[in-house]
């Protein structure tokens, strides 16, 4: 994946996160939520946003956070019904693909 393609995916992810109203309606919908905000879909989106924009958090931590999502889409249904429909679950999957692509373009496909 070239840099232009990577930027495009990045833009798409950030645009989706921008729509998020941070109303936290989805938080207690998330099956992995056990009290910490980062264990919910909105928290994951916030972590992705901070990582892409300001480089906060290491890739390992963000990967661990993103891969603890079950992609069950409960947050997404709730967001569609009660909030701004920013498709959190799809954005989390996109963010996983983005991280993998970025590592590939940085280090080459095989090494």
């Amino acid at each position: 994946m070239n840099d232009a393609g990577l930027k495009e995916v990045e833009k798409e992810i950030l645009e989706n996160i921008q729509i998020c109203l941070k109303c936290r309606m989805c938080v207690d919908m998330c099956p992995t939520y056990e009290g910490w905000f980062a264990q919910s879909s909105a928290g994951r989106l916030m972590a992705v946003n901070l990582h892409i924009k300001y480089g906060l958090g290491s890739e390992e931590e963000l990967g661990n956070l993103l891969f603890s999502c079950t992609t069950c889409r409960r947050c997404q249904s709730r967001c569609r019904m009660l909030s701004t429909d920013c498709s959190p679950a799809d954005t989390i999957i996109k963010a996983r693909q983005y991280l993998v692509k970025r590592a590939e373009s940085r280090e080459g496909k095989r090494s």
Partner: protein, 336 residues
């Protein structure tokens, strides 16, 4: 696989990816794909093609692998939480995973039988299905969900070539994840994708309506239905499944809270999570099982192999005598 990706993606998911790309199945255990359909005499070409998927065929191995991993942990081999299945076994150098899976596979295998029963249900309802047998590819959806989009795009195009060369026009899928991928994700990566994909319960609900058959179970049972995520929120088939459930006479369906069933059914923690976060997956499974236990039902019914495994494990752990069944099994029993 470069180091950057190894840092990001949990080892369990990388293991699954390598299996799909190199061995063409979820666990990499080389099992004949036509084995379950041996004496069913399924033609290769028919109006509808039945897509069996890896889920039901490999669930016994996945269960075995998880058990092997757990007992290894108990023996004090110090396998960390983050350490996935793959890393552990590939370190040894030989493909211990698939050997261990074959040895530890549960003897009574409730999962593969579901496929045979699904074909029997379709035949009873007068739907003519074929099966690709050994040629059937793995749908590859874990690649998509685990971030390997480029691998997925290539895999998907290869699959489409197989479909085209075998003359597949209409597919009936049973595993929710495979069906939702074939229906909703494939068109995004293939131009001119013209395969009509339906889920088993869409077809069954329609055929039951058309034929007016009323299935009936012999003994009255009190059941609750656990909706798989991929079926309710990806394929959006809540009402079809409920229709089928309501048509079966002798079933008393009790539902959990309205925020925990149908569109809003809580996740069982299955899917890919047990490959990367097994402890979290177990906790989610226990929570879901407790929600379902509150209904007072004695049988849990679901229609996804991963959900069934999670619920069966959770009820065993909670030491409750609950039977976990697939809706297909109930339907096969109930149909005349």
């Amino acid at each position: 696989m470069n180091k950057g990706i190894r840092n990001i993606v949990p080892a369990g998911h990388i293991y699954v990816r390598d299996n799909i790309l190199e061995k063409g199945s979820l666990t990499g255990v080389d099992e004949s794909k036509a084995a379950w359909a041996k004496d069913l005499n399924l033609a290769e070409r028919a109006e509808y093609t039945f897509f069996a998927g890896c889920g039901y065929q490999h669930m016994k191995y996945i269960e075995g692998m998880m058990n092997a991993l757990k007992s290894a942990e108990k023996m004090g081999m110090g396998m960390g939480r983050v350490m996935g299945i793959g890393k552990v076994f590939s370190k040894v150098g030989i493909d211990i995973a698939s050997i261990a899976a074959k040895v530890t596979a549960s003897k009574e295998d409730p999962y593969t039988n579901v496929l045979r029963k699904a074909v029997s249900v379709l035949r009873k309802l007068g739907v003519d299905v074929g099966y690709l047998g050994e040629k059937e590819p793995c749908c590859g959806s874990p690649l998509y969900y685990d971030g390997f989009e480029d691998d997925y795009a290539g895999h998907v195009r290869k699959n489409y070539e197989i479909f085209k060369s075998s003359g597949v026009k209409k597919i009936i899928g049973l595993v929710p994840a495979c069906t939702s991928a074939l229906k909703n994700v494939y068109p995004k990566y293939i131009e001119g994708y013209n395969v009509q994909v339906q889920h088993f319960f869409e077809v069954v609900a329609r055929r039951l309506e058309e034929t007016g058959i009323r299935p009936a179970v012999k003994e009255k049972i009190k059941i609750t239905y656990h909706e798989p995520c991929q079926l309710s929120r990806y394929l959006e088939l809540v009402s079809e499944v409920r229709e089928v459930l309501q048509r079966i006479e002798g079933l008393e369906v009790v539902e959990p809270d309205a925020e925990q069933c149908g569109m809003w059914s809580t996740c069982c923690g299955g899917g890919g999570l047990e490959a990367s976060h097994p402890e979290l997956a177990e906790r989610i499974g226990l929570r879901r099982a407790e929600e379902l236990l509150e209904t007072g039902a004695s049988v849990f019914i679901s229609s996804c192999p991963a959900c069934e495994m999670q619920l069966a494990k959770a009820t065993r752990k909670l030491q409750r005598n609950i039977r976990v069944m697939d809706l297909v099994e109930v339907l096969d029993q109930a149909l005349p």
